[in-house]
Amino acid sequence: MHPLLRMIGERLGLGLLTLFVVSLIIFLGVELLPSDIAQEILGQAATPETVAALRTRLGLDEPPHVRYLDWLLGMAQGDFGRSLASGREISELIGTRLYNTLFLAGLAAVISVPLALGLGILAALWRNSLFDRGVNTAALAAVSLPEFFIAYILILWLAVTAGVFPSISNINPDTAFWDRVYRTMLPALTLTLVVVAHMMRMTRAAILNLMASPYIEMARLKGIKNSRIVTRHALPNALSPIITVVVLNLAFLIVGVVVVEVVFVYPGLGQLLVDSVAKRDLPVVQACSLIFATTYILLNLLADVLATSSNPRLRHPR
């Protein structure tokens, strides 16, 4: 079998195993809850009979392993159960919100990835110049700022003072595409600022790392222009670490949306998660956590596979 395929197979197996353990943790965590869920819903005044009736209706009488399998199979088929707070189907709550969150993360990725790569390549090209130092200092500062600080500064600057973008992302399923992009711009810009620094620094470091290699020296001696050396000779060999850091930051984007969504009252999954935690709506929290964790694990897996498969020695075995 091709070693690359085997490697991907192994990683996939490991990823599935991790997912299984994570789902077990999410399920068992709730099992450890000191009070009974049925009691929790009905409150202290409930009679034992009504509590017992609700327990039967929610299927809490079954042994834990049966309920775990039910829950897992339901999740796999898109049936997440019902919310404790509103009694609505969770899949109904999640559907459009998941799309909104992916839209926001996607928009942020479309802006931040080319920006980070460009800045990183330029910083490597003009190493130790004023531009390089400026970009690096700005990156260090951006990493140290809390997300909500960046978000409010953007609101203050672009929404309140300049009035370019709306400060609240008021979108619904009927919003047209470009209008949606316009209303999502401020949260997307915030996320961009959060992730660009890391990607840019890694791009710069990965390229500079190679600049001392003999083949770069050779290219220099041939008299090739510096910009061509960086883009044609160094960049292709620096791709593996760059791809890894880009995908890892995409994983971070999906999770990082939580705080940003709350600031901009963006109707996404993160907002739903935070609201449900405050209301202690356990089934919704479980479903959201599982979705976030799955996305995160899958993207990490993807980073792993892409990084290894960009190694030519693995792609073309002897």
């Binding site: 809390p146 935690v277 356990l282 479980q286």
Partner: protein
């Protein structure tokens, strides 16, 4: 004392600035009751009063003095983040060193456990556990310390792994020294510099993390003055172009940048790198 001053004189301007700022934060946190003009929870005026003589930074959404709450916030927010980081280091550091020294199945068991814990995004995991155990300061510190100790574990194990294979550790083992002695006197002194630097960076991370949770209303609970929740409580003012609600966030940002400056310098110094 002179040695400390000389060290300070040698540091680059960024590290000096960082040290001065951190000292300032510590002084404010320790002497908060003396410095604050009003009490932490005292309602002393109307809601959202503008900056004035009586209230230098105005009042917040309940009419409490903003400056006083900022000063008390230094104590609460920084204190809780510091306690959490210390706990995470005691837990993760100890486990990492033990895993590296013992090796074998102890190492395997601990490392696989950490792998699984790290596979779940930290914020999501923290939210899940806080839903289950409820939000109080103690559960907040414990949950974040445990989640963060996984990162400390990875580093301390990796660092200790390189030291365990050295001859002087082998010699100590042959002398018949116990596990505690080997970790305390052979491994720990050699693992200190990267761990100290990591402590600074971890502190920043935990500090931002707790602030984010408080901002979401799930961390440090009111009426305790805390920078993260203060931003949220007064966020309405921002839409009127008032920057007061951003001050607590700026306090958070300045401290993280200061710690980063000092850590950068420390790393450069201990690794023997020059500009």
């Amino acid at each position: 004392m002179t040695a400390v001053l000389r060290l300070f004189g040698e540091a680059p301007w960024s590290a000096r600035l960082g040290i001065v700022l951190i000292t300032l934060y510590v002084v404010v946190a320790v002497f908060a009751p003396l410095l604050a003009p009003y009490g932490e929870r005292a309602i002393v005026g109307y809601e959202y009063e503008p900056w004035s003589e009586a209230h230098l930074l105005g009042t917040d959404n309940l009419g409490r003095d903003m400056l006083s709450r900022l000063i008390y916030g230094a104590r609460n927010t920084v204190g809780i983040a510091f306690a959490t980081t210390v706990l995470a280091f005691l837990l993760g550091g100890a486990m990492g060193l033990v895993a590296a020294t013992l090796g074998g199945w102890t190492d395997q068991a601990l490392s696989r456990l950490v792998d699984v814990l790290m596979a779940i995004p930290q914020l999501i995991f923290a939210l899940l556990i806080l839903t289950i155990v409820g939000t109080s300061v103690v559960s907040l510190i414990l949950v974040i310390a445990v989640l963060d100790s996984t990162r400390v574990y990875r580093l301390s194990r990796a660092v200790a792994m390189n030291i365990v294979v050295m001859d002087f550790v082998e010699a100590a083992k042959l002398r018949g020294e116990g596990l505690w002695w080997i970790i305390r006197y052979e491994i720990l002194p050699n693992a200190m510099p990267p761990l100290v630097a990591e402590f600074g960076l971890r502190f920043c991370y935990v500090f931002l993390f707790i602030s984010a949770l408080s901002f979401l209303g799930l961390g440090i609970q009111p009426p305790t003055a805390d920078w993260g929740s203060m931003v949220r409580e007064n966020a309405t003012l921002i839409s009127f172009g008032d920057i007061t609600p951003l001050l607590p966030a700026a306090c958070i940002a300045v401290l993280t940048i200061a710690v980063n400056f000092v850590v950068d310098w420390f790393l450069m110094k201990t690794s023997g790198l020059k500009e």
